[in-house]
């Protein structure tokens, strides 16, 4: 396979998003600044000012209007992008449902950050998990190059006529948004070919006036939601095609899940986001010392790759689930709930240790990973309530 020549750059996560958006030839960007997403907005405004991005940049007065302007732009048939974080995502919550309900293929970067109060600038997943059921495709990236690649991929996935759903790319604020990493940038041309512009079939057109955003009744509403659910299922299949095509010119493929040593491990840890890499490092060290553990990173969170997840758990004697968000009063975090329900559907009944970690940006180091695997080995924590790892008592 002859790969395109690569430019290697040191980019922050936010910068990688902006570069991918520029190369994806986006028509309209509407965004509002919020830490730690702001670099994306600044960078895109710079591209527009320099003529490197020919699209329109709308510096809106709020996140609610950011997503609303995206709605208006998307119904014209334009390619649309926005970015936000934390309070901003919460502020546009209403509009997230509006977008998926109208089946608008908007792509959004979410630099994950914990929610106020108290106000904190650092990462956890509670912003996106708070909007988990909004009908958007949700993906969690692990490093800056993946952020770059996934941004491009999500336009393709989202705009596929079989899908037509909005997509959110999640990556932890500061940990990834501001972290400078090595990125092998792709050329503009193959990306342009990959993202050929299909103006969606349904758009605002005076020659064929359509009504968008009608009112439904109990007689019709359910079916609209059902169609969204079906589109999510289709997205799971289309995701593989998108990855395959992307691989053909980039040489890079991630999968809906990333499995390390899951086929023979006694204990498999399921996790999403940047901490997956740290946990893999912890697992490797443990395995070198004679343990037998594995890590399953769930990258695609919605649609949830249920079959793939359970296939990687089938061999394990125990499972650890890792949640970077808290659902107060719930049996465990959302990742844990999903994994447990997938296991139940697959008839898997090994014990599960539900762990919450990294809340409000608290660090999770390799040593922490080893500790958590250790707790699972002892078995004493199974069956009890969710373990709030790393909290000061």
């Amino acid at each position: 396979m002859s790969l395109q020549s690569l430019r290697v750059a040191a980019l922050q996560g936010d910068e990688a998003v902006a570069e991918a958006v520029r190369q994806s030839d986006v028509d309209v960007v509407a965004a509002y600044p919020i830490t730690p997403q702001t670099i994306i907005v600044e960078k895109l405004a710079e591209y527009v000012a320099n003529g490197k991005l020919r699209g329109e940049f709308i510096p809106v007065e709020s996140e609610h209007s950011a997503m609303s302007a995206c709605v208006g732009a998307s119904v014209t048939g334009a390619r649309v992008f926005t970015a936000t974080s934390s309070q901003g995502l919460a502020y546009m919550h209403e509009m997230l449902y509006n977008v998926s309900g109208m089946r608008l293929p908007i792509v959004m970067a979410v630099a994950n950050r914990a929610l106020s109060a108290p106000l904190v600038l650092n990462a956890d997943h509670s912003d996106m998990m708070g909007s988990r059921d909004c009908g958007w495709i949700q993906l969690y990236a692990e490093n800056v190059e993946e952020i770059y690649d996934r941004t491009i991929q999500l336009f393709k996935l989202s705009e596929d006529p079989r899908v037509m759903l909005p997509a959110a790319l999640n990556f932890e604020g500061f940990i990834l948004s501001h972290d400078k990493e090595r990125v092998r940038l792709l050329e503009d041309e193959p990306i342009r070919r990959f993202l050929q512009r299909p103006r969606p079939k349904h758009h605002l057109d005076p020659d064929e006036p359509l009504t968008f955003g009608a009112i439904a009744t109990p007689d019709t509403y359910y079916e609209f939601r059902m169609q969204q659910t079906e589109a999510m299922k289709a997205a799971l299949r289309v995701f593989d095609e998108v990855e395959m095509e992307f691989e053909s010119f980039s040489g890079r493929r991630y999968g809906a899940v990333d499995a390390y040593n899951t086929d023979k491990a006694d204990v498999v840890m399921v996790i999403n986001g940047s901490a997956a890499g740290t946990m893999r490092a912890a697992a490797r060290e443990l395995n070198t010392a004679g343990e037998n553990v594995g890590v399953l990173a769930v990258k695609l969170y919605r649609p949830f790759p249920l079959e793939q997840v359970v296939s990687h758990l089938a061999q394990a004697k125990a499972v650890i689930t890792m949640d970077r968000s808290i659902s107060p009063g719930a049996p465990s975090g959302p990742v844990s709930e999903d994994v447990k329900s997938a296991m139940q559907l697959a008839g898997l009944s090994m014990p599960v240790l539900s762990v919450v970690y990294g809340i409000g940006g608290r660090d999770l180091a390799i040593e922490d990973g080893k500790n958590i695997f250790g707790l699972a080995k002892e078995g004493s924590s199974f069956g009890s309530s969710t373990l709030m790892y790393g909290v000061k008592v």
Binding site: V60, G72, T76
Partner: protein, 318 residues
Amino acid sequence: MYEQIKGLKELPVEEPLSPGHRLCPGCGASIVVRQVLLAAPKDTIVAEATGCLEVSTALYPYSAWNRPWIHSAFENAAAVASGIESGFKALARRGDAKEHPIIVFGGDGGTYDIGLQALSGAIERGHRFLYVCYDNEAYMNTGIQRSGGTPLGAWTTTTQVGSARAGKREAKKDLMSIVVAHNVPYAATASISHWRDLMTKVRKALSKEGPTFLHVMAPCTRGWRFDSEKTIRMSRLAVETRFFPLYEVDDGVYKITFPVTSPKPVEEYLKLQGRYSHLFQPQNAAELETIKKGVDDNYRRLERLSQFTSQLNVPKTP
């Protein structure tokens, strides 16, 4: 440039809003839409805020709209319009579409209150669209609750008339001044009783490069408590009593477009509406006087603004 409308015969026969929609008989809003869109080019795109007009014209699987139409949410119609404008601009640049006139319809709730921020943001950014506020002076869609556009003294289901209070205690928000403070190239009030004035204002607004605003009185038979055949009469009385003066602010210059030299008594307008009936009880006489004084003050304010701004060499909006 724009064309003045001289007579009815110039208007297209085609109906932008089809008959058969579910708005009430005598609804002011549907007449607003009809007059506005008949004055606008046929390739106009319509965006709308949640409200009576929206729920009554687009009940799936039906639609009364013979225009490309979008409703997204209550508070965001102006933001949606800014996206539509930008989308077409970007597509036009690549040769994938043409740009089209954009008209937004929002009620008083969606404009004075919940949508004010989105409106302010969009007009400050200078997007080219005409925002039409059809003002029926309360949240009629949810059952007549007070809004920032409800006038002083009016009964609504959240400004009840009782022994301790009698209707709304606060004055109607001066929305026009708020919009004008954004230095938009054109803002005007209009009434469906003065259709030629209204349509000319629509054309004038659409001829401007930037954001423009039209504040139209839209009488509501249910909320104002009057018989459905009196909608146009109600609109006319609002103008002729100076309760709702017709004026425009064209690049900063105020002009009363329908001067009312000898106004009818305000009572003539108020008496026809059940929402004001308590004002004619003796204990509310002072309230009635306050309302009348407010009407008078406002008209004189507009006269002075017209005099003042016509003498100014007002810089054109960039």
